[in-house]
Amino acid sequence: MSDSILVIKDVWKTYEIGDERIEALQAINLDIEKGSFISIIGHSGSGKTTLLSVIGGLTEPTQGSVSLDGADVWKLNDAGLSALRNEKLGFIFQFSSLIPTLRAIDNVALPYIFQKRNNTDIYGRAEKILSILGLSKKLNSFPSELSGGQQRRVAIARAFINRPSIILADEPTGDLDAQSESEVMEFFSEINEKEKTTFLLVTHNMELAGMTDRIYRMKDGILTNGG
């Protein structure tokens, strides 16, 4: 229990659109150990992305608490929450999320500018991660010059730049071919092992889910242990 990196207690998220109420998350409880590799599966619209964004400090839950590495996420002020997103979290979004005016390597290094720390080798690290992900020749390409899969890999690289303690990956390999997908997964498990980075992976791919330590299943906003 003392080794928990993420503790979610009774989290609810209700969207109200007009008269309609959507229970996107219902009574979620979760306790994740540091360094574990977890996957979440579920149908479209079941609430997977909503859960990740509540954990990642992007969507405030209607009720309940999220504690990340000891910090009560939704009780932090803007500066605290921003620092947490910047330093502890690596978010890989389901949809494209690059800044179109920046080259691939700048996109990867971008989180650095919101940091107080002075990391002089940020570009070295960005280059290294991009190379591991097979993009050593695309460092200076703009997003518009990259394929969908290449853009996705740049976004993945960015999530790792600040050595986060937890990666929230929302279908990170959705638009990758089998070859790139396995490269990415290999990279994930290497980081997971070497740096004890915790992974929360949302996927539709049962095969991928099968490779993880534990599988959770999401259905109509309810999370069950689908082991």
């Binding site: 921003s82 979004f93 800044i99 005016t101 920046l102 989180p111 500018i113 919101f114 940091q115």
Partner: protein, 405 residues
């Protein structure tokens, strides 16, 4: 690889993404700052040329016959007053007042071309070399040391040159010296002669055929120039002199004030235009940046997700507006300078015809005005983007990222 990331870099990249929009905004801002810079520079130039001229003039007070007060004020700046005379006894009265250091008379003669060789109109001023403190000190070049009876001194704007011969009322005068330009129209255009020569010229004029004679009697003067002791109480002295009902006192201060009123009247329309431009541009910037925020919702949400604080988002947008408007402001000032340089003859000519003397402000003043004009442009940018930037910073990060999905 070299570090290049910063909020500044991000803002600059943002400005390159819609070049046409950026150019249009820069140009709009340039028009505002250029207009403000040019009008203030011209105003400043008129104002400082007034001040410089009047301080060069050297007189703290000018005592004139009651009737010529109004024409004197404008004449000082641009040219000829209508001529009135008073008795020279006033000089002694003024000299006896405590705090008065120097008094010197001047006699104005309405200009008439002589029977030979005088080009155009020249306004003749008789002065007393013995007591003078406003003419002789400002001679820039002269032919010899002593000012003699049939010598003349010409104002800085005059077309005569040192050494020329000029003729008034049949009398030949030699140009002894030329004054530096003062911006005081009365002085810049005048021809100065010894007051004794002026009296004798008036007497002689009665003998000349075909010329209306000068109706001046020895002992009459048009103005007495007064210099005060350091620390003398100007209002008190002015009040004491004014007890004489036949004279009026003009101070440098109230000349500047009256011209400044003209100046404000002339430029107030431009000022109103500038204010309208400022407001219109602020609103335009505001509208355009609202659109920009909407376009970039996803990116702003994304920046929040990777650790940008609300204040950083706010700063990023304000930064962008500042870059844009300072660049526009700079361009406006640069173009303003170029245009004023190209058309400087026309500008000065037009100001002169409006009774406004003009001297270019010093480089330091121009820099100051330029910085102020650019500053106004930046304030327009910041004011205009304030609300859109605030909205951008308050975007709900996840909804913003999802926008357009």
């Amino acid at each position: 690889m070299k570090h290049r990331l910063s909020l500044l870099f991000l803002s600059m990249q943002n400005l390159t993404r819609r070049p046409f929009r950026t150019y249009a905004l820069v140009l709009a801002i340039a028009i505002v700052s250029g207009a403000i810079f040019s009008t203030t520079t011209l105003m400043w130039g008129v104002n400082s040329s007034l001040k410089r001229g009047l301080s060069k003039f050297g007189a703290d007070l000018l005592v004139v016959p009651r009737g010529s007060l109004i024409s004197m004020k404008s004449a000082l700046l641009t040219g000829e007053p209508s001529v009135f005379y008073m008795d020279s006894d006033i000089l002694k009265t003024i000299a006896s007042i405590k705090g008065v250091k120097k008094v010197s008379p001047q006699l104005f003669l309405s200009s008439v071309e002589g029977d030979c060789c005088v080009m155009g109109n020249a306004f003749i001023i008789g002065f007393d070399p013995a007591t003078d403190f406003t003419v002789l000190p400002w001679i820039e070049e002269k032919i010899e040391a002593i000012f003699q009876m049939d010598y003349a001194i010409v104002g800085g704007s005059n077309s005569y040159n040192v050494g020329d011969d000029i003729f008034f009322y049949g009398q030949k005068l030699k140009v002894f010296g030329k004054l530096g330009r003062t911006g005081v129209g009365l002085y810049d255009n005048a021809v100065f002669i010894n007051i004794e020569k002026a009296y004798s010229m008036a007497e002689e004029s009665h003998k000349l055929p075909g010329v209306s004679p000068l109706k001046i009697v020895r002992g009459q003067i048009s103005a007495s120039l007064v210099q005060l002791d350091l620390g003398a109480k100007l209002p008190f002295i002015s009040f004491t002199i004014s007890k004489n009902p036949d004279v009026k006192v003009i101070t440098a201060g109230n000349i500047i004030t009256s011209v400044r009123q003209n100046l404000v009247a002339l430029f107030s329309s431009t000022l109103i235009l500038s204010i309208v431009l400022i407001i219109a541009n602020t609103l335009m910037i505001s509208a355009i940046f609202s659109t920009i925020i909407n376009e970039r919702k996803r990116e702003l949400g994304l920046l929040r997700a990777i650790g940008a604080k609300k204040i950083s988002i706010f700063g990023l947008i304000i930064y962008e507006a500042t870059l844009l408007t300072s660049f526009g402001g700079f361009l406006g000032v640069a173009v303003g300078i170029v245009i004023m340089r190209i058309y400087q003859r026309t500008i000065i000519f037009n100001l002169k015809s409006l009774n406004m003397p003009y001297i270019w402000p010093s480089a330091a003043s121009i820099v100051l005005l330029a910085v102020a004009a650019i500053g106004i442009a930046v304030v327009v940018g910041i004011t205009g983007t304030f609300y859109p930037a605030l909205r951008g910073s308050k975007l709900h990060p996840y909804d913003a990222i999802r926008a357009g999905e």
